[in-house]
């Protein structure tokens, strides 16, 4: 291998190579080629000094699986590589990832700005549960950059958006929003769950942290709940006095400053050594293994997911029972230009449409499906359907539901990998049955 050739160096491997290999070299003891499931809690120390070095964070290694585990580490490196980040911290769920992401730097009384189009569960976590920590989310329309600027109060420490919104399919203007956050000296955090790093790498557009629910397209088959926080390694935590969680002496680790001691490794080290240690939402090794398997086929699945979704959206846009379709791949969609810019000309596979006939009609369509599964997940190989107003978004007010793109007539689809004609035929028969039923009711 020539030194000039850059073998083993950064940009020399493509996305598909990294989705299979990153984080998973052969296991040295046995030569096992697939990453083993280290279903294990503790790790034997060489001696007392080694143990002390590990506890003092002076050396690399495993102590206890609440903090790190070899199977989980493999997935962390895999996702960090796919997002082109410095490091990643996997955890028990996407919600845990959001808690972990903020925990490193938020203090009681602090605030952050978040998009009003976020997944309903995120809005609830941010505005209800985070309140208990005295953390305050300012919810704004992130398409209005002036509103975003105005919402950044002195105690604000981050701006949080989804790259592709669940369920409305809105695409955030990442580059412009990153500039607004960085002008104010605050973090830009992007939930990249729906786009996945195959369609969008937010760090390339200025994101400082990327969060995922790995439950969705990463795991891909509806087997494993999980989450991840990816750190770009590029944020200067010492640029102002807002991020003392990473810059001030840490009493639980003999007064070291994480940023001074670990540089661009600081955030990810902190997320494990303090975040996971004290909050405890660890990802199980089996879930990490299943998610690693999912990542191996991410590009192939995303291409087919996106192709099928485009075909379904085009079908629905011509259907007599459908009032509107919110899919960034349709010609009249206001987010199409941003999808071309940020999603590599693809549009994801999760979107909403409106039925003619409102709340009752929406529920009837969902109940009339034979192939589409009525359940609260997305990003599965199977096609999934849901009526958000009566399920995932029912804890929100009507106004919040409308803002989130989840009004009464809205049906959410997560288009799977079945034969596309079968996917369309089942939706067609469900719509026709619902239309017939409502026609009878009208008589």
């Amino acid at each position: 291998m020539s030194e000039k050739g850059g073998g083993g160096n950064p940009a020399s491997f493509g996305f598909e190579t990294r989705m299979i290999h990153a984080g998973s070299p052969p296991e040295p003891v046995t030569g096992a080629r697939q990453t083993p499931i280290y279903q294990n809690v503790g790790y034997v120390f060489h001696d007392a000094d080694h143990a002390a070095s590990l506890y003092n964070l002076q050396t690399f290694g495993f102590i206890y699986s609440r903090l790190t585990n070899p199977t989980v580490s493999a997935l962390e490196e895999r996702i960090a590589s796919l997002e082109d980040g410095r490091g990643a911290t996997c955890c028990a769920s996407g919600h845990a990832a959001q808690l972990l992401a903020f925990f490193a730097f938020m203090e009681p009384g602090d605030a952050f700005v978040a998009s009003n189009r976020l997944y309903g569960g995120s809005i609830t976590q941010f505005t209800k549960t985070f309140r208990k920590f005295d953390w305050h989310a300012h919810i704004v329309d992130v398409d209005d950059l002036e509103a975003v600027r105005a919402a950044i109060t002195p105690r604000c420490k981050a701006l949080f958006v989804e790259s592709l919104a669940n369920p409305g399919g809105m695409v955030s203007d990442l580059e412009a929003l990153a500039a607004v956050a960085h002008e104010a000296g605050i973090l830009f955090i992007v939930d990249n769950t729906l786009a996945t790093p195959y369609l969008c790498r937010p760090i390339e557009w200025g994101a400082d942290l990327v969060v995922h629910s790995t439950t969705k397209f990463m795991a891909g088959s509806g087997t494993s709940v999980g989450g991840c926080v990816v750190d770009s390694g590029k944020f200067d935590w010492a640029q102002n006095d807002k991020y003392s969680g990473l810059t001030a002496p840490e009493p639980a680790y003999h007064g070291i400053s994480f940023y001074e001691t670990f540089g661009d490794l600081a955030y990810t080290n902190h997320a494990h050594a303090v975040g996971l240690r004290d909050l405890g939402p660890t990802m199980a090794p089996m879930n990490a293994f299943l998610t690693l398997l999912g990542c191996e086929t991410l590009a192939l699945r995303m291409e087919r997911h996106c192709d099928n979704a485009l075909a379904v959206a085009q079908f629905l846009s011509r259907h007599p029972g459908v009032a509107w379709v919110s899919f960034p791949g349709l010609p009249d969609n206001p987010y199409r230009a941003r999808a071309e810019k940020y999603l590599a000309g693809r549009y994801g596979s999760l979107f909403t449409f409106g039925v003619k006939g409102g709340y009752a009609m929406g529920m009837k369509v969902v109940e009339s499906c034979e192939l589409w599964s009525h359940l609260a997940n997305i990003g599965d190989t199977r096609s999934l359907i849901l009526h958000p107003a009566s399920t995932t978004h029912r804890q929100l007010t009507e106004e919040q539901r409308e803002a989130a793109g989840a009004g009464d007539d809205t049906v959410r689809l997560s288009v799977g990998l079945e034969t596309v004609e079968d996917i369309i035929a089942d939706l067609d028969q469900a719509l026709r049955r619902a239309m017939a039923a409502s026609g009878k009711a009208a008589d």
Partner: protein, 168 residues
């Protein structure tokens, strides 16, 4: 922000394989300082690390006597590691160049965050190999899968079975 420096993995691997003795300028006797962490780690990987620090001259750090300057180090030195700021790297570099033939110094390595382009150019002109803005501990860990244990992107991809080192 200055442009990112690029060093190939084979270059870093070769340096870390060929170097055995490191003079660490700026090594701290305080156990929880970053330089002390790095020195202890490199010792466990089989390197001899000789601390250079005028403020601690004559003391011992991790079993090694501390010298006031590179010139006072009685042993041969393969690599000078600069654990001081970018400005201080200038005179340290000049001292390393002056001593290169006598001590056998082949590599000048400036710590993560430390860059001094003028000093690097002088060292290279004098025949030294220069690395800037990298941490030898992080690079060693990165190239030997240990950094990956912490969830980091090592940027290393390989289908080769790693050779097992026997723990001492």
């Amino acid at each position: 922000m200055p442009k990112e420096l690029v060093y190939s993995d084979p270059t870093i691997r070769r340096i870390l394989r060929d170097v055995r003795t490191i003079a660490m300028v700026g090594a701290s006797p305080t156990w929880n300082r970053p330089s002390h962490f790095a020195m202890k780690y490199m010792q466990t990987k089989g390197y001899r690390v000789i601390p250079v620090n005028p403020k601690a001259a004559g003391q011992e750090i991790l079993g090694e006597r501390v010298y006031a300057s590179l010139a006072e180090v009685p042993d041969r030195i393969d690599m000078v590691q600069v654990f001081r700021n970018s400005e201080a790297a200038g005179p340290i570099t000049d001292e390393a160049i002056a001593l290169a033939r006598e001590k056998g110094i082949r590599v000048l390595w400036m710590q993560l965050g430390v860059r001094n382009g003028a000093a690097a150019a002088r060292a290279e002109a004098a025949g030294l190999e220069v690395i800037m803005d990298r941490c030898p501990k992080i690079e060693y860990g990165r190239l030997h899968s240990e950094l990956s244990w912490g969830g980091f992107n090592s940027r290393v991809i390989t289908s080769r079975r790693p050779k097992l080192r026997i723990w001492s």
